[in-house]
Each structure stands twice: as structure tokens, then as C-alpha cells.
């Protein structure tokens, strides 16, 4: 076989921000038609490396070669011009534009070239065609700002794949997706492969990578520590390379204990979103909430928390009715909601880590009128250590943390708040395996301490490993309740996806078996 230059090569890239080294000489080589997995702990530098490739950041040293020829990307437009497109981890869409406008942003089909008139009909038509080809159920004319996180991720995927001619980088593209939609994505990736594109895929879900990856590069602390074919290395070894240590068990055992019903939801209804939802959660219990994207789980927990209105039904906390619900009231009564969308409803991105971490419970830091900043820092250090937040700097602006570390800060906020009832919506989105184990331990500790936990997750192994009971929602209704210890992923998925008069065969489950 004659030597052929790889589609894309990055050579000894180094990059530092404000004197902190993030990438210390990383090389990466991807062939055409190959899916290259890029893995590493949170903050290892994966996103930064890819942003260098996409022209967002300029490397301090090192070079990029496309088909053997060195190139310089000083802005994203340059990378796009070379056919390199990227799905960003922190979704980067224009909320005021429509789905179609976002998909074609920068490459609008034109009608009168000289005037630069956008051919709207053509654009919508092509967007509709693409979305249906990809199996994404989205209206091209819908405003992106009103879409759920999952749907926005689909838009982002569509945009990048259309734009890519040589290489597409996917930075955790499935973090908001359920298995069903992820499967559509994998099909799409296989198709891109066939068309000879290089795909770089970043994920913390090793099961996903099993389905598509050809090669793997592992980063640790801004260095590459392993490179090889995907099949040559076991999950355990990957985790060891990532974390630099062995991981004993992902789902630690929890002392069985069940007390009073702390949270009781009765007939909660909001037309078109969820209907007639009744369940309760007892002290010491972890209840999982499963469903496909759009099943209404997020709407339900937000309504319980009072962040969204409910049209009927009641929520009882500790037996007392939670009238006129609002987040302020809920928090004071001991309810906490870890939101699904950390950018929109979670973090104050331009504020310091410590301020974000303590926001839901500033009260305990105050003595007299004065806020004890020492206490705040101590608390922040405590959670930074417990959750392995990197870099361990309480004053760091949260928006500058890596995605997974941002998620940990958000979780830390609710661990720090003295809540008794926790509603955790996708608590481990984008979190690496090792840190996930920490989070599970933390959740177990909460339950053992007498808290009630509702865990919404699209990651079924996580639900099965953590929950006592699993409630399943389908199209806004509670359709089943399963004992987590005695059920399987297939059974959960069957309940979640079953259409009236349809068999379970239609459900895509192969990514988990």
C-alpha cells in the first residue's frame, strides 16, 4: 500500500491560557473514513484541542496538516474553508434564528448573488429534507431559542455534518440525546465514514464509542497518553489511562433505608406537556425517571420545583402542600433542582466558581449583615476536592471551566444547599467516568442521610445502577413503574417507546446490548 497522507494531522500542539498550560504537545492523526475517539477526564484538554483544529483558538506552538499540507487557521472561517466543521460542546446556535437559518448560517443559498438575497424557500426546503433524511423530527422554521436542549443538539449536528467536507469534530454530541436519537446519529456517522470523511468523536460514554470508533487517542492533563485501534484496549484500561488509576466500582452500594414520603406529587397536569402525574418519593430513596426525549420529564420536574407553571394537581413536601410554587419557595422548603441546561438555567457563566457554587445557599455564609468570604472559599474548596473540579481555583470564572467541570459545579451547588428533596435532571451529563463515580457516591450519601432523590437520566445503565424504582414516562404520562433491581434496559426502553398497537420490536436497543 502506497503511503497516503492522513486526512488530517495535528503535530505537537501546545496551548496555554493566561499562563496555565492546557495542551502540552499533543499530536493527533486521523485518516479519511475513520472515526477517531478522543477521550480523557474532564479538563484534559479535548475541547481545547478541537477548538484549535476548528480555528477558534490559535496554538502557541505546533502545526496542523490537511492531507499532508500545513495550514493555518486564524478563524473558524478558515477551518470551514478547508472542510473542517465542528459540533461544539457548549451548543453555539443563535437563539433568535430559526432551525433552517442556523443550519445554513454562513452558507445560505442565494437567489440574486449580487444583492446577496437569501433564498428562504430553498433553505427551508433543504433543511426539511436534511432533517427528515437524518430522522430528526424538527420544524425548520421553529425558533432555536424555544427548542429543548436535545433538539438544539440535533440542529447543531445537522449543521456540522452538512458543512463538513473533510472532517467533522463532534464534541459530546449525544450529551442531551437518548439512545433512540443517538442511534440515528450513529447511522449518520457511518454514512459520513462511507463518504470518506474523517470523524473525531469526543464522548464519556464508552458504550457509544463501541458502536462506531475505529481508533482512540487518550488525553490526560494536556498530554496524549495512548493511541491505538479501538478494539485493542478494554474499557477498564481506557479508564486507567484517563484517570491514572484503577476505578474499583462505578455504582457503589447504598445502605438500604426508607423513611416517610418526603415528596408527593398528585395529579400534576400541564396540557400538552404532562398529564395526571402521581408518585411519591420517600426519604432514603432514589427514584429514576426514564423516557425518550420529549417525553416531558424535564417539564415535570420543573413544574414540581415551581419553575414552570402547572395547570392542575398538587405537590406535597413532607406532607405539607406546596401552594403557589416558585423556585424561591421551593428552595427555602428544602427542594433542589439540578437543571438540565446548565448554560440557560444553571450557571452564571461570567461569575466565579465559588459564587456559583454557593448561590442556592448564600444564607449560611452570612453572619449579621456580612457575608463571610472565608467561609465561602472554604466551602468551595471542599466541593472542588470532593468532586475533583479542575482547575481547583475557587476564583476561576465558571465559563472558562471545561464542560464536565461546569456540570460538577452545578451539582456542587445543590450538595451545598441544605435540600432534603433533590430533583436531578441529567446530573452526569458530560462528566467523565471517574468523576461520575464520585457523583454517585455523593448521591448515595444524600439518600443515606435521609434525602429523597429523583433522578432523570437518559443514561439507562446509570438509572439501573442508582435507582431503587424507575418511573417511565411516555408522551407526558407515567406509564410504568419498575423495580430497578429486577428489570433490564430492554424492558425500560420497551415501556418508554411503545406506541399504541405497536410491538417492542420497533425499539432500537442495539447500542446497549
Amino acid at each position: 500500500m502506497s503511503y497516503e497522507a492522513p486526512a488530517l494531522e495535528m503535530r505537537v500542539i501546545t496551548k496555554s491560557f493566561a499562563g496555565n498550560s492546557v495542551l502540552a504537545g499533543v499530536s493527533l492523526c486521523v485518516a479519511a473514513g475513520e472515526v477517531h475517539a478522543l477521550v480523557g477526564e474532564n479538563g484534559a484538554g479535548k475541547s481545547t484541542l478541537m477548538k484549535v483544529l476548528a480555528g477558534v483558538h490559535q496554538p502557541d506552538a505546533g502545526e496542523i496538516l490537511i492531507e499532508g499540507r500545513p495550514v493555518r487557521f486564524t478563524r473558524p472561517a478558515d477551518a470551514l474553508a478547508h472542510g473542517v466543521a465542528m459540533i461544539y460542546q457548549e451548543l453555539s446556535l443563535a437563539p433568535h434564528l430559526t432551525v433552517a437559518e442556523n443550519i445554513f448560517l454562513g452558507r445560505e443559498p442565494l437567489r440574486f448573488r449580487a444583492l446577496g438575497v437569501v433564498d428562504r424557500r430553498e433553505m427551508n426546503e433543504r433543511a426539511r429534507q436534511l432533517l427528515s433524511d437524518y430522522g430528526f423530527r424538527l420544524d425548520p422554521r421553529a425558533r432555536v431559542g424555544r427548542l429543548s436542549a436535545a433538539d438544539r443538539q440535533l440542529v447543531e449536528i445537522t449543521r456540522a455534518t452538512v458543512e463538513a467536507r473533510r472532517c467533522v469534530v463532534m464534541d459530546e454530541p449525544t450529551s442531551s440525546l437518548t439512545a433512540h436519537e443517538a442511534e440515528e446519529l450513529f447511522r449518520l456517522i457511518r454514512d459520513l465514514k462511507r463518504r470518506g470523511l474523517a470523524v473525531i468523536y469526543i464522548s464519556h460514554r464508552l458504550e457509544d464509542l463501541d458502536a462506531i470508533a475505529d481508533r482512540i487517542t487518550i488525553l490526560r492533563d494536556g498530554r496524549e497518553v495512548y493511541e491505538g485501534a479501538w478494539g485493542e484496549i478494554s474499557h477498564g484500561e481506557i479508564i486507567r489511562h484517563m484517570a491514572g488509576r484503577e476505578l474499583k466500582e462505578i455504582f457503589p452500594p447504598r445502605a438500604a433505608f426508607k423513611g416517610e414520603a418526603l415528596l408527593r406529587v398528585e395529579n400534576l397536569t400541564r396540557a400538552g406537556k404532562f398529564e395526571d402525574i402521581t408518585f411519591d418519593v420517600r426519604a432514603g430513596e432514589v427514584v429514576g425517571l426514564a423516557g425518550l426525549a420529549g417525553a416531558g420529564r424535564t417539564e415535570l420536574v420543573e413544574a414540581v420545583f415551581g419553575a414552570q407553571p402547572a395547570e392542575g394537581g398538587e405537590v406535597y413536601l413532607n406532607g405539607a402542600r406546596l401552594g403557589a410554587p416558585s423556585p424561591g419557595r421551593a428552595v427555602r422548603l428544602g427542594l433542589g433542582l439540578l437543571t438540565e441546561d446548565r448554560k440557560r438555567t444553571g450557571l452564571c457563566l461570567n461569575q466565579a466558581l465559588s459564587k456559583n457554587l454557593t448561590l442556592a445557599n448564600v444564607r449560611v455564609l452570612v453572619k449579621g449583615w456580612r457575608l463571610r468570604r472565608g467561609r465561602e472559599r472554604t466551602a468551595a474548596r471542599d466541593y472542588i476536592e470532593r468532586l475533583h473540579i479542575r482547575p481547583p481555583d475557587p476564583e476561576k470564572t465558571v465559563g472558562r471551566l471545561s464542560g464536565g467541570n461546569q456540570q460538577k459545579v452545578l451539582l456542587g451547588r445543590w450538595l451545598f444547599a441544605d435540600s432534603r428533596v433533590f430533583l436531578l435532571d441529567e446530573p452526569t451529563r458530560g462528566v467523565d467516568v471517574a468523576a461520575r463515580a464520585e457523583i454517585y457516591r455523593a448521591v448515595n450519601k444524600l439518600a443515606e442521610g435521609g434525602a429523597a432523590v429523583v433522578m432523570v437520566s437518559s443514561d439507562l445503565p446509570e438509572l439501573l445502577g442508582m435507582a431503587d424504582r424507575i418511573l417511565i414516562m411516555r408522551r407526558g404520562r407515567l406509564v410504568a413503574e419498575l423495580d430497578a433491581k429486577r428489570t433490564t434496559q430492554e424492558e425500560v426502553l420497551r415501556h418508554a417507546a411503545l406506541e399504541e398497537g405497536e410491538g417492542a420490536e420497533k425499539v432500537m436497543v442495539d447500542s446497549y446490548v
Binding site: 476548528a54 477558534v56 478563524r75 473558524p76 472561517a77 470551514l80 474553508a81 465542528m86 461544539y88 453555539s92 446556535l93 443563535a94 437563539p95 433568535h96 434564528l97 437559518e101 442556523n102 448560517l105 454562513g106 452558507r107 445560505e108 442565494l110 444583492l115 446577496g116 438575497v117 437569501v118 428562504r120 449543521r159 400538552g272
Partner: protein, 314 residues
């Protein structure tokens, strides 16, 4: 049907306002008065068209009043030095565009907030206008120049109204149908997203400021034509009125929102209110109270209508 209501909706409070005023003072509806309102609001509306574009893209320009004065003076000088009227107008537009270019380039190059750059520019352009005229109005302009402000096309349509319509159509076309318009909303909505998508953000930002500057220049020519003098002190405080027109019309200080129709309505609400109050002979003290209160009410009214419609339709 519901689509029809949606199109009609932004007008609701403006129409309500007109009905109330007309009921109290029938002269409000006389064609002479309506033409007068068109003339009185033309300058603000034209600048507000450009401001809509800049604000949709997430920017702001406090220097428009000064640009208007400087451009008006430059155009007037051109005419007193013998240039024909059309060239004088062109000179004003060009001077405005040059100011806009300076603003845009400074904002894009220094990467400091447009608020600061244009705050500084406001002083600089005003100072230059005063300096080159020695603070005096430029007189001796050709009488035919007055046609730009006071003329009627076919003896019927006031020329400034025609200009407003043309500028509005152009701006609407720019914002809603062209690629630059898409980028404008994208930049104001999420500048990072626009950059990631390969949009040359700085280039477009500069273009938008130039567009606004040119329109401020045109407005300067009209304002000069109204009084047939170039005034270095014209347009003081206009920046607030222009920005108010955009915001009343649904624009936002944080970008990504705003429309030509909305801005026109915003400008007309303010113009009609002031005209109505004058016609009704409301004392100038009470007038300020009434206008202030009605602006808040009008926006609230529209906003509530919009919300109701949205929850109703989905």
C-alpha cells in the same frame, strides 16, 4: 387568520392612540396635520432605521445626533460653496457614512464596548461641527434645498415621507431578505455562534455602522432643509429618542431582536403623542407626564397582547 392578527398586532396600541386623539381633536386627521406628523418624525425614523440594524447586531450608537449635525453642516458648506443641491445632499450622506466608518472600525479594532466608542465620538463629531462653523449656523442655502423637507411629490406626498418609506423598504429588505440581515441577527443573537459559523463578524459590524452613519447623514440633510440652514447644534439628545424608537418597537439593548415595522411604530407612537398633546393644547408640563405614561402603557399593551396570542396559539 391568526397570522393576520399577528401582523396587525404591533399596530394595535398605535391605532388605539390615534383613535383617542382623533376623537378628542378631529383636526388630528386632517391631511395637513398627518403630513406634518410625517415631516416631524421623518428625521428620527430615518436614523432609527439604521439604529435598528446596529442594535439588532448587538451594538449601539450614541453619536447619531452629532453625526447628523456634522453631516448637515458639511452638506450646507458644500452648497454654499456652489455645489448643486443633489451634490450637497450626497456630501451630507458621505460625511455621515465616514463618521459611521470611523465608529465601526474603532469598535471592531479596539474591541471596547460600542457604548464607549460612540460616547466619545458624540463629543468629537459635535466639537468638529461647532469648530468648522465657529458655532454659527450655515446660512445662504439655495431655496430649492428646502424641497427635501417641505416639498410634496405630485403636490400630495411629503418628500420626507417618501424618503422614510424608501429607507424603510431598503432596511426591511436588508434585514429580512439578505445574507447581511441573517448575519445581523446572528451576530446580535450569539456572536460566538456567528463566528464559529464562519461569519466575518467585524466586517459586517463595520458595514452596519456605516449604514447607520449614512442614514444619519441623510437625516442631517433633511433637518438642514427644514430650516434651510446647517446647524452645528442640531440633533442634541436625538440619540435617546432614536434608541427609544427602536426599543419601543421591540428591539433590545442586548441584540438579536428588532424589526423595521416595530421601529417605525415606536417612532410614530412618540411623534403622534407629541403632536396630539400639542394639538390638544396640553401644557408642556402635563405633556411630559402624559407622554411618559402612555409610552409605558402602549408597550405594555402590545406586550400583553403578544403574550396572550402566544399562549393561545402555542
Amino acid at each position: 387568520m391568526s397570522d393576520w392578527i399577528k401582523r396587525f398586532l404591533p399596530f394595535a396600541s398605535l391605532i388605539a392612540l390615534c383613535v383617542v386623539i382623533a376623537a378628542l381633536e378631529p383636526k388630528f386627521l386632517s391631511s395637513g396635520n398627518l403630513a406634518g406628523v410625517a415631516r416631524q418624525t421623518a428625521v428620527i425614523t430615518i436614523i432609527a432605521m439604521g439604529m435598528t440594524v446596529v442594535m439588532v447586531a448587538g451594538g449601539i450608537d450614541l453619536s447619531v445626533g452629532s453625526v447628523m449635525a456634522l453631516a448637515g453642516v458639511v452638506g450646507a458648506f458644500a452648497m454654499t460653496n456652489g455645489a448643486p443641491v443633489l451634490e450637497g445632499i450626497a456630501a451630507a450622506v458621505a460625511a455621515g457614512a465616514a463618521c459611521g466608518l470611523a465608529n465601526g472600525v474603532t469598535i471592531a479594532a479596539l474591541r471596547i464596548p460600542p457604548f464607549i466608542v460612540t460616547l466619545g465620538a458624540m463629543g468629537v463629531y459635535r466639537g468638529v461641527a461647532l469648530l468648522i462653523t465657529d458655532g454659527k449656523a450655515v446660512v445662504g442655502l439655495p431655496q430649492s434645498f428646502g424641497y427635501l423637507a417641505e416639498g410634496n411629490l405630485f403636490g400630495l406626498v411629503p418628500v420626507p415621507l417618501l424618503l422614510v418609506v424608501l429607507v424603510a423598504l431598503a432596511t426591511h429588505f436588508l434585514l429580512s431578505s439578505t445574507r447581511a440581515g441573517r448575519y445581523c441577527y446572528a451576530i446580535g443573537s450569539n456572536v460566538e455562534a456567528a463566528r464559529y459559523a464562519g461569519v466575518r463578524v467585524s466586517r459586517y459590524q463595520i458595514m452596519f455602522y456605516v449604514f447607520l452613519g449614512a442614514l444619519a447623514g441623510l437625516a442631517g440633510a433633511i433637518e438642514s432643509a427644514r430650516l434651510v440652514t446647517g446647524q452645528p447644534t442640531a440633533g442634541e439628545g436625538y440619540e435617546l429618542r432614536v434608541i427609544a424608537a427602536v426599543v419601543i418597537g421591540g428591539g433590545s439593548l442586548s441584540g438579536g431582536q428588532g424589526s423595521v415595522v416595530g421601529t417605525i411604530i415606536g417612532s410614530l407612537i412618540m411623534g403622534v403623542l407629541s403632536n396630539g398633546a400639542n394639538l390638544l393644547g396640553i401644557s408642556s408640563f402635563t405633556q411630559q407626564i402624559v407622554i411618559g405614561a402612555v409610552i409605558v402603557l402602549a408597550v405594555t399593551f402590545d406586550e400583553f397582547q403578544r403574550r396572550r396570542l402566544e399562549t393561545a396559539a402555542g
